[in-house]
């Protein structure tokens, strides 16, 4: 065994103690009763919360789609700039992330409220007040705002690798801009799209504080549901673990579906 392998040991220990053992604990909790007996009731109880789970997936999917639509053109344009402008652009994208996540979401509260900044400005020109906060739209907005950098960064890092001569070659061979995009840029940026979608969708589907702050507490998501099991009135870590387990399975499935797309597209790219 080479000595270099030992360098990985600290992380390995870390992972076993803080990732693998807790995951096993979730598994154990999900399948036991408070007295320690085996049960699958917790898992079947999760079915009662289908509404909440579907809503989380739906809102997270919308947020991911919006992030992709906003992030893709920006990442492409940025990747065609000079190295210096790229650096500045990336820094501007990262800038909001230097602030606390909570603070950023709190700021949206003061913007969206009935007596908030947006409604007051609109009121001055005789519009409104509109019901902006405490809606599912506000939750999606919060997710897009907070997770957009996670979409742009992987997209950008893949797109800078697309050599401009490839695009020029396509143009030389008579491809229009639509064709260049669909035959060259899109297939080559596919890995970035899939990792961007994963990076946005996974945290979005399990978020809990955004829905509490911007959704008015009535747009419950899976994260809130899990939070309620551990810090709520009933203290039911068994059901909480079961919901977490279901959430993990959902995320895993979504990721595996994404990966399939990714690979098959690469195959096509290779075939072309």
């Amino acid at each position: 065994m080479s000595k270099a392998k030992y360098a990985a040991l600290p992380y390995l220990v870390w992972m076993v103690v803080f990732t693998i053992i807790p995951m096993l604990l979730i598994l154990v909790f999900a399948f036991t009763t408070p007295d320690g007996g085996f049960t699958i009731k917790n898992i079947s109880d999760v079915g009662k919360y289908t509404d909440v789970i579907m809503k989380s997936i739906w809102l997270a999917a919308i947020a991911t789609a919006v992030c992709l639509l906003l992030g893709y053109p920006l990442a492409y344009i940025l990747s065609r700039q000079s190295a210096r402008s790229q650096q500045i652009g990336l820094m501007l994208i990262m800038l909001p992330m230097w602030m606390s996540f909570l603070l950023r979401t709190f700021a949206w509260m003061t913007l969206l409220e009935k007596t908030g900044v947006i409604n007051r400005v609109l009121g001055m020109i005789g519009l409104g007040p509109f019901e902006l906060i405490n809606t599912s739209g506000a939750v999606v907005l919060g997710m897009v705002y907070n997770y957009l950098p996670f979409m742009i960064l992987p997209l950008h890092s893949i797109m800078v690798k697309i050599d401009h001569s490839v695009i020029e070659a396509a143009q030389d061979l008579g491809a229009g801009s639509m064709k260049v995009f669909s035959k060259v840029v899109l297939p080559l940026s596919m890995p970035g799209i899939s990792s961007g979608i994963t990076m946005v969708f996974v945290p979005a589907v399990s978020t809990f504080i955004i829905s509490k702050m911007l959704g008015g507490g009535s747009n419950l998501m899976i994260g809130d549901l899990i939070d309620m099991q551990f810090l709520g009135n009933a203290y039911n870590p068994h059901l909480g673990s079961a919901i977490s387990l279901v959430l993990m399975v959902i995320v895993l499935l979504c990721m595996s579906v994404m990966n399939q797309f990714d690979d098959s597209e690469e195959m096509e790219g290779m075939l072309i």
Partner: protein, 406 residues
């Protein structure tokens, strides 16, 4: 049941810069040093776990309770805070943390007693317990008064803004009034939300009758379209700025809000309400029980308790401390309601585990009731996704086979 005073926090930060020397209560002559001095020089320490913003901490020139205790006894106080009773419970249940003094609310104390999580107090070494008003001894949550010493109490009522609500408020039913659609805030914790609904419907706060709970759940669902948001801490901002006009909340917190917005009023509905008591306890297995009892005794000292309650804004169960308060505060009907109002109150008691579970699932139902998805959607989704993955893999393998001759 103490919540963060967001606005006060800023003021507190500024005022903390001013050196405070108002340490009247720290003069040694006032206390029995044979008693308080027993741990001096032994390098002892205790871990105190309390609600956020729930002790006089020396800001605003007020008494710094922990510091005064440290100087008096030489026992170091490691102070940390929690936000809900349930958080405290899960921390203790998890077993990871060691605390010597905790301050849960009534129903949580009853539950902890039932689950053998509290240490019996040695009242011989808490002589200042005699200051506690008879009325608050032997409470329902601790019938023989063996585990707890009352710290504060208060009521839940309706806070409203007279700018929007012109009629007199005397019933919980105003929270269901169509007229105030979008101006109503509601508790985001299940026990309080269900509690006031149960009162409105004429049920007990501690009902174990599942039909009554279901009826309350339906009532809360009816209310949902009118509710602007389900909140706890955020209530301060929303009521102060006029974002919302009506909210049920704790009396002590109303007093803090009223300082900043004079349009706010408080009313205890005629259907009755919840009277809560937060009390000091020692959790099972506490490492420094004797020192913790010294701390509890210190909290019961009249001067300390009076300064403390003045800062917190809640009501004190300490008779000797009450007598030290300003007459204005003593006669405040919000802080110390007249006896006929107090008679019409009920404390929260511990619910049976089944009822607790039902309450939580009903509450989730209230919060998530919008669309009825079929419960088979999830299993179908899983099957389809797995099928899709396998399908693509098979297709790819097939294609690879086709490609391999090249």
């Amino acid at each position: 049941m103490k919540r963060k005073k967001l606005l006060c926090a800023l003021a507190a930060c500024l005022l903390a810069l001013i050196p405070f020397n108002a340490f009247a209560a720290g003069e040694d002559g006032e206390y029995d040093m044979a008693y308080y001095g027993q741990f001096a020089g032994q390098n002892a320490s205790i871990n105190v776990f309390n609600w956020g913003e729930y002790i006089s901490d020396g800001s605003d020139g007020a008494l710094d309770v922990n510091k005064a205790f440290e100087e008096l006894t030489g026992i170091k106080v490691n102070y940390s805070t929690f936000a809900t009773n349930e958080e405290l419970y899960s921390k203790l249940k998890g077993g990871g943390a060691q605390y010597d003094v905790i301050i849960p609310s009534d129903y949580m104390i009853a539950r902890m007693i039932a689950e053998d999580m509290l240490e019996e107090l040695d009242f011989e070494s808490i002589p200042a317990f005699e200051n506690i008003d008879e009325q608050y001894r032997n409470p329902e949550y601790d019938p023989e008064n063996r585990y707890s010493v009352p710290y504060t109490w208060g009521t839940v009522g309706i806070i409203y803004n007279i700018g929007t609500v012109e009629e007199p408020v005397d019933s919980w039913s105003i929270l269901w009034d169509e007229q105030y659609r979008g101006d109503i805030l509601m508790f985001s914790n299940s026990r309080d939300a269900f509690g006031l609904t149960q009162k409105l419907l004429g049920y007990s706060l501690n009902t174990e009758d599942h039909d009554e709970l279901r009826a309350a759940c339906e009532k809360l669902k009816d209310q949902k379209p009118l509710v602007q948001a389900y909140v706890m801490d955020e209530i301060f901002d929303k009521m102060l700025s006029g974002e919302a006009a009506i909210a049920p909340y704790y009396a002590g917190d109303y007093l803090i809000m009223a300082e900043d917005n004079e349009d706010l009023r408080f009313s205890i509905p005629k259907e009755g309400t919840n009277l809560f008591v937060d009390a000091v306890c020692i959790p099972k297995g506490a490492a420094h029980k004797a020192a913790a009892e010294l701390y509890i005794n210190f909290l019961c000292e009249p001067r300390v308790a009076a300064d403390n309650i003045e800062y917190i804004g809640y009501s004190t169960p300490n008779k000797a401390a009450f007598e030290l308060l300003d007459e204005e505060v003593q006669n405040d009907p919000v802080c110390y309601p007249p006896p006929e109002v107090l008679e019409n109150t009920e404390p929260f008691l511990a619910l049976s585990p089944e009822t607790s579970l039902l309450l939580d699932s009903l509450w989730t139902e209230v919060l998530s009731t919008d669309k009825g998805y079929n419960k088979w959607i999830m299993p179908v989704f899983v099957v389809v996704a797995v099928g899709f993955s396998i399908g693509i893999n098979l297709a790819r393998r097939y294609r690879k086979k086709k490609d391999s001759p090249y």
